[in-house]
Symmetry: C2
Subunit: 481 residues, 2 copies
């Protein structure tokens, strides 16, 4: 029996340490000092981003036969075309530009116990597409082209902790997908490694507790997408915590903690959820394949950008970047610029005092495996001007008209600024009544947070938008009702 007891003890102890870090409002830096430091990083960031025509991008070539746009090294990423067919959907077939990035990058956060509390080494980093400049990023955020130094830039700091984990303790390590509307089958390695080494934060890096990160997450465009997706993979667990960390009178917060505990059953057991995912993947007939970019109908390249003839959805633009703080200090690249601010929202409800989130098994053409569990609502409301009425997502109007007292979380967060220009979504967690949507339809299920955390140990179950929301859900354990 020693094996299982040892394993339970390790898991339990890790759960307690993560929970304690989530309750730690202060760490080696006070939050106030961190905010001042962060504001200064933003102010002093010297990078400049200038919009230029796609035709003028240095070292990027447009293939005359296909219209695809690729880097002359063949690395980094390319802009190509996608043809999608989704049987029975409101829009059953379309073509579009899509980003192709087959390389697996590393999104890594280094963790370390400092003064008895787990801290996470975060980087203040700018990306050319960020709406407000510097954001809080993982310790390492590097494509394979980056870290194998294709562009002969400076080495990536702290990389070795993630490339050779043997001397350290791996807290999470999983390939996760990114936007299936904009990327073709892209994924990154999401990894959290705990070390006992002495680690001095380099310039631009700081140690934060989870409680501090959770408070920062409440601000608009402060914590970047890469940090959110890695944080969502933390093995949050409430085993034994819902009693030891009681918050009297804070019934909502208590329902979040209970939801992380496998001790509290959800509406569905995990076998039933896996079977439902299998069934939905079997039911949806999706065919998505790469086509030449010039075969993307209704998309036009003119004046150095590519856009849809409606003016909606997104544009592909070119930028010239100058940065004093990056591996290379000047480069050109294409970016995808979405039109309008999107909404990514979870409806949540308490069932027998246990919080459940309503996930949507949503098809996106760039997914490797048909669909992933996404937010209850994921859309850019402005696009429905062009799309058929049947395409309007269920629950959208309910989300947009939620009264303030129902809104448990709301902030505007940016998506990957290395590929997207000013891509912002309003992330919302909205509480509804326990009796709401008891039978929400064949592509929706109410899941506990414990179940989401379990699925997040594996690839291709939880979409990047839902993962951002899971990070936001995590943050609710740090926040009084």
């Amino acid at each position: 029996m020693s094996g299982i007891l040892a394993a339970l003890t390790t898991d339990h102890r890790r759960a307690v340490r993560i929970a304690e870090s989530a309750q730690a409002a202060e760490g080696v830096l006070t939050l106030e000092r961190f905010r001042a430091w962060f504001a200064e990083r933003r102010r002093e960031d010297a990078s400049r981003v200038e919009r230029i025509p796609l035709d003028e991008l240095d070292r990027w070539r447009t293939d005359p036969a296909t219209g695809d746009i690729a880097h002359e090294s063949g690395r980094f990423f390319a802009v190509t075309g996608l043809s999608a067919e989704v049987a029975g959907a409101a829009v059953p077939a379309w073509t579009q530009p899509i980003l192709l990035q087959p390389e697996i990058g590393i999104l890594g956060i280094l963790a370390k116990e400092i003064d008895g509390v787990l801290h996470f080494l975060m980087q203040a980093k700018n990306e050319p597409g960020n709406p407000d400049g510097v954001e809080i990023s993982p310790t390492v955020q590097a494509t394979r082209s980056n870290y194998t130094r294709v562009h002969r830039g400076a080495p990536v700091p702290y990389l070795d902790y993630f490339r050779d984990t043997r001397r350290h303790h791996v807290i999470a390590d999983v390939l996760q997908s990114e936007q299936g509307s904009w990327f073709f089958q892209k994924r990154n390695r999401n990894i959290i490694v705990e070390t006992t080494d002495e680690v001095e934060p380099l310039e631009g890096f700081a140690w934060l507790t989870l409680g501090q990160l959770h408070r920062l997450l409440a601000g608009d465009t402060v914590v970047n997408m890469d940090a959110r997706t890695v944080l969502s993979c933390l093995p949050f667990s409430g085993v034994g915590l819902s009693s030891s960390h009681a918050f009297p009178g804070q019934e909502f917060r208590q329902s979040v903690l209970r939801s992380y505990s496998e001790e509290f059953a959800g509406l569905h057991d995990i076998g039933g959820i896996l079977s439902w995912i299998t069934e939905t993947r079997s039911r949806h007939e999706v065919a998505a394949r790469r086509v030449p970019l010039r075969d993307a109908e209704l998309w036009h390249r003119r004046d150095g950008t590519i856009e849809h003839e409606s003016g909606l959805f997104f544009r592909v633009i070119g930028v010239r970047v100058e940065s004093g703080h990056r591996e290379v200090s000047r480069w050109d690249q294409p970016l995808v610029e979405p039109i309008g601010v999107g909404v990514n929202a979870f409806l949540v409800k308490r069932v027998d005092g246990v919080l459940h989130a309503l996930v949507h098994a949503g098809v996106q053409p760039g997914f490797r495996d048909v669909l992933e569990l996404g937010p209850t609502v994921r859309c850019t409301p402005g696009n429905y001007a062009w799309l058929p009425a049947a395409a309007r997502p269920p629950f959208l109007d309910e989300v947009l008209s939620a009264p303030p007292e129902r809104i448990r979380f709301a902030s505007v967060l940016s998506e990957e600024g290395g590929r997207f220009r000013d891509a912002r979504n309003r992330y919302m967690i909205i509480e509804t009544d326990a009796g709401h949507a008891p039978d929400p339809g064949p592509d929706y299920r109410w899941l506990t947070l414990h179940q989401l955390v379990g699925l997040l140990r594996h690839s291709h179950y939880v979409s990047v938008e839902a993962r951002s929301l899971v990070a936001c859900l995590h943050s609710l354990v740090s926040r009084p009702d």
Copy 2:
């Protein structure tokens, strides 16, 4: 706490019922009577398979532009080309014909408790490519084209148990890949459903216990691939069983039971194994894409078949099938005919009395996610006449020269006869010393059976060849030392 206790009780009770079925050497039919019935089904099977040139296949067309071969309905499957690049491999780039079958089919086994013992409803079924005619198949084995009746054949019996599971109990339900060397990203729904309905076996069906299936699995070409892959997804668990089902003096059998118990720790914990899979998937740079079949270099279509200029690997042939027992009674189709009999083998060893199997994280170009955990050795030895010496798999010579007393399982089993002609592999489980290959290389790991069973709840972790071997490993709990 009632939730977790109820869940443990259900899981535990299911584990006990599966283990009891595995120990049941006799069921509602004696094994002797079943064997007589099965022999009669083989004798009386009226189907005839005739080899015909690909050019003469009725209702199949060769696209003049691409050379691809497809059914005129656009359904079923197609023969197309694949271009694969595997950085750093002994053969770093090649092209080949490959089967394209994007539809998700159902491989379903219906289970039912009869006289207190779990029984499984199996079908005696022939497929055109089967080497020895009728084999034991799942209750339902149907492509989507089959069960949506594209060819207007008879309805598939028992299908509704798997299409609408709500009234029944789902024991397993997961999408699993098939041969990544011959299929492009194909997978099927592997599902086991338990019913309490009264179910009368139709002609050609019989109820068997797991113990009976395990004995039948020891025979050559008796239990078909589809049955094996579904059986491999059974949630075998040894929780509490290794003591309650003690087999005094049978140390090997006991080590198998212990290996199914999470109570006994393995050499690696599951977090470490998931991290290793993530790392191997990140490390291998694989690019595989469909190309026109006529772009498959070194493959030639002549005399109505497609073959490699070496005469090795496989051929694509045409067949004409006549069957009295199928949904439609006459049809033509292409089949892939491998050259030579392959070897799929697990090396296993006992570590502290717990059996471990050596899995190989193996790249195959048709995999959806780079690689899956396969047998220690998976190959067709004859192919190495043509391939570079560096391509010869590690551990192959050890497997081929294993002394009889080390061979814990060996039988020649067929692969999917609906797509492959006379495709046979020798499946072997070979025991080595506890000290063997302690550091087997970066793409190999020693796993317990409990860990394999846990991974089998999810897609794309365990290859079809390894799943056949897992079904064989399951059978060792039924067999005295």
